[in-house]
């Protein structure tokens, strides 16, 4: 299972990657494997507020549906336009082209303490 370095993780199997002053958010390789073929992603509106730990969207597979919990609080500044037409990229490249939203974090320094390192996430998923 792929748990790349340079990312932070949540217990609900989302990842965060900081790029400049924005945070890229997606779901982990483990999560996409459990869900199976992703067929639809319900995305938040650009400009909406995300709150750490709250659901901002859902991912639908053929016979499963999962909430996406925001790893950080902040403004949603961009959603991945590719997911509407080709949601399967979440299965193929969960950490790169399969990203879900970009958030401008409002309280990163405090909130990052609630996130998991790659090592901690690995322990979680192999438990």
């Amino acid at each position: 299972m792929n748990i790349p370095a340079g990312y932070l993780y949540t217990k609900e199997h989302e990842w965060v990657k900081i790029e400049g002053d924005l945070a890229l958010v997606g779901i982990t390789d483990f999560a996409q494997g459990e869900l199976g073929d992703v067929v639809f992603v319900q995305l938040p509106d650009v400009g909406s507020k995300a709150k750490q730990g709250d659901s901002f969207g859902t991912i639908e597979a053929v016979k499963a549906v999962a909430d996406i919990y925001s790893p950080l609080s902040g403004d949603v500044v961009e959603v991945n336009p590719e997911l509407a037409g080709t949601p399967e990229i979440m299965n193929r490249e969960p950490y790169t082209s399969g990203w879900i939203v970009k958030i401008r974090p409002s309280n990163f320094d405090t909130e990052k303490t609630h996130l998991l390192t790659p090592e901690a996430y690995k322990d979680l998923t192999s438990a």
Binding site: G36, D37, V38, F40, V62, E88
Partner: protein, 492 residues
């Protein structure tokens, strides 16, 4: 060349692809010329006719007969779909439901002109009350899910009448998906409790959650693991003591006929799936019928109209101010009521008991014979269905889906899979009383053979089926690129 030698798989045309301009399979009775014309203002007229297929009757018949051969069905072979009670559907039942004096009745006819129909509903109601040990009944719900919802609305009305509508309904984690969905539609929140290590309701967890906010408990008995909730009396007492009501999901009533009755257990309401226990055909997914039987304390909340007898005359009682309203436009699925009564009359009281006895023996026979190969979820005598986990086979790299698909190659419909959700790689097998020992023995052999294949040729299973009209289908593709009608632009 369009035709080729027949192979196992084939693609069929859609009826629209047989369409040929100018053909029709129908001739309307003549309208005398002397009748006035129908004059419709131009702005209301339809310009483009709906693109229904244009085919002769013979073409339609051939098309749909061909399509029919692409179905598995009970009259063809074993169909042990757990929780669905796929029993034999006696042919006499369909025949009597089609009698002109039943099929030709308008639901709007006054009661005095449909006394035979009402007599039938009265006799069916009495029989269902005897089977369930309840006091009163509505035949209105058109399916089990609607029955659940109807009962929950009655619970809500009961609590409102007492001045506290309450907030939550409790269910076990092994519940059917319709339970939580119905609860939310009835305006309640869902509290889901984990099952204990025996697959039964966890009494301690129940005690912890019960308070004045709990409107009731919904529980399936026997539960979806195929086990009788042996503490059910205690469970019901606890809920009643907290002021709540208790509902039995009757999905598994086929195990209880003449053996134990929900009313005697203390339940306040239960539904009965006529399309399971009482053999009305499933019709490719409906019509069902889900009457709800209740205790007297809920009777004032029954949906209108309620069947009553005034002297010798059956009537519909609409004057019930505390009724929840109506959940169906008419009186429920009457054609299913006719079939169910024909079935009950054919079997009689003793026959109904024999149904459950044979269903239970058949299920335990499968449990015993299959458990050396497949992991039984709870190793105890079961009621009408046996629930296994595919864990042994998963260890060989084969999933329950693969086992199910391989069964298709042997001409057997797979059991219910991946339900209940609490059983990993679940296989839920309900043989029903309709099956012979020989059929069960064959099924056991096939299941053992599939297990050997899982060991020796796992790839064979992962790509099954091979002998069905089509092979594994791309369900993800269907959901991603939604294509749900033939013409891609709507025709005004």
């Amino acid at each position: 060349m369009k035709r080729d030698v027949t192979s196992l798989q084939s693609e069929t045309k859609l009826i629209f692809e047989h369409s040929h301009e100018g053909r029709t399979g129908f001739q309307a009775p003549p309208t005398p010329d002397s009748l006035p014309a129908f004059e419709l203002p131009a702005e209301l007229q339809r310009k483009n006719a709906p693109r229904l297929p244009e085919v002769a009757e013979s073409t339609a018949v051939r098309h749909y007969v061909n399509l029919s051969t692409r179905n598995h069905h009970i009259d063809r072979d074993f169909y042990p779909l757990g929780s669905c009670t796929m029993k034999y559907n006696p042919k006499i039942n369909d025949e009597v439901a089609a009698l002109p004096g039943f099929a030709g009745l308008s639901p709007w006819q006054p009661a005095s002109t449909v006394q035979g129909a009402l007599e039938l509903l009265g006799e069916l109601s009495d029989a269902l009350l005897e089977v369930t040990g309840m006091d009163n009944i509505t035949l209105q719900p058109a399916a089990g899910a609607q029955g659940e919802f109807t009962a929950l609305l009655m619970f809500r009305a009961y609590h409102m009448k007492k001045g506290n509508v309450r907030k939550r309904i409790v269910i076990p984690d092994s519940a059917h998906g319709t339970n939580p969905a119905s609860i939310v539609l009835a305006g309640y929140g869902v509290t889901q409790l984990p099952s204990d290590s025996n697959g039964l309701m966890d009494i301690e967890a129940l005690k912890r959650t019960l308070d004045e906010d709990v409107a009731g408990l919904m529980i399936t008995n026997p539960n979806t693991i195929g086990l009788f909730e042996s503490n059910i009396a205690k469970i019901i007492d606890l809920v009643h003591d907290a002021g709540g009501l208790v509902y039995m999901d009757g999905a598994n009533l086929n195990a209880l006929l003449g053996i134990s009755r929900p009313g005697d257990m203390g339940f306040d309401a239960c539904h009965i799936n006529l399309h399971k226990t009482f053999s009305t055909p499933h019709g490719g997914g409906g019509p069902g019928s889900g009457p709800v039987a209740i205790k007297e304390k809920l009777a004032r909340h029954l949906p209108v109209p309620v069947l009553k007898k005034n002297g010798d005359l059956f009537v519909w009682d609409w004057n019930r101010p505390d009724s929840i309203g109506s959940v169906h436009t008419y009186y429920g699925n009457f054609g299913m009521h006719v079939r169910a009564l024909a079935y009950i009359r054919s079997l009689g009281g003793n026959g109904l008991h024999a149904i459950s006895e044979n269903a239970i023996i058949n299920a335990n026979y499968l449990r015993k014979k299959l458990s050396p190969t497949y992991q039984i979820y709870i190793d105890k005598p079961c009621m009408h269905e046996a629930v296994f986990s595919g864990n042994n086979q998963k260890a060989k790299g084969v999933r329950t889906t693969d086992i199910a698909k391989r069964l298709l190659d042997y001409g057997i419909h797979p059991p219910t899979v991946y339900f209940p959700l609490i059983v990993p790689e679940c296989l839920m097998i309900e043989p029903t009383e309709s099956e012979t020992k020989e059929t069960l023995d064959e099924f056991i052999e096939v299941m053992q053979q599939i297990d050997r294949e899982a060991t020796e040729t796992p790839d064979l299973l992962k790509h099954a089926p091979y002998t069905t009209p089509v092979r594994r289908l791309d369900e993800a593709g269907a959901a991603r690129n939604l294509n749900i009608r033939y013409f891609d632009n709507a025709n005004a």
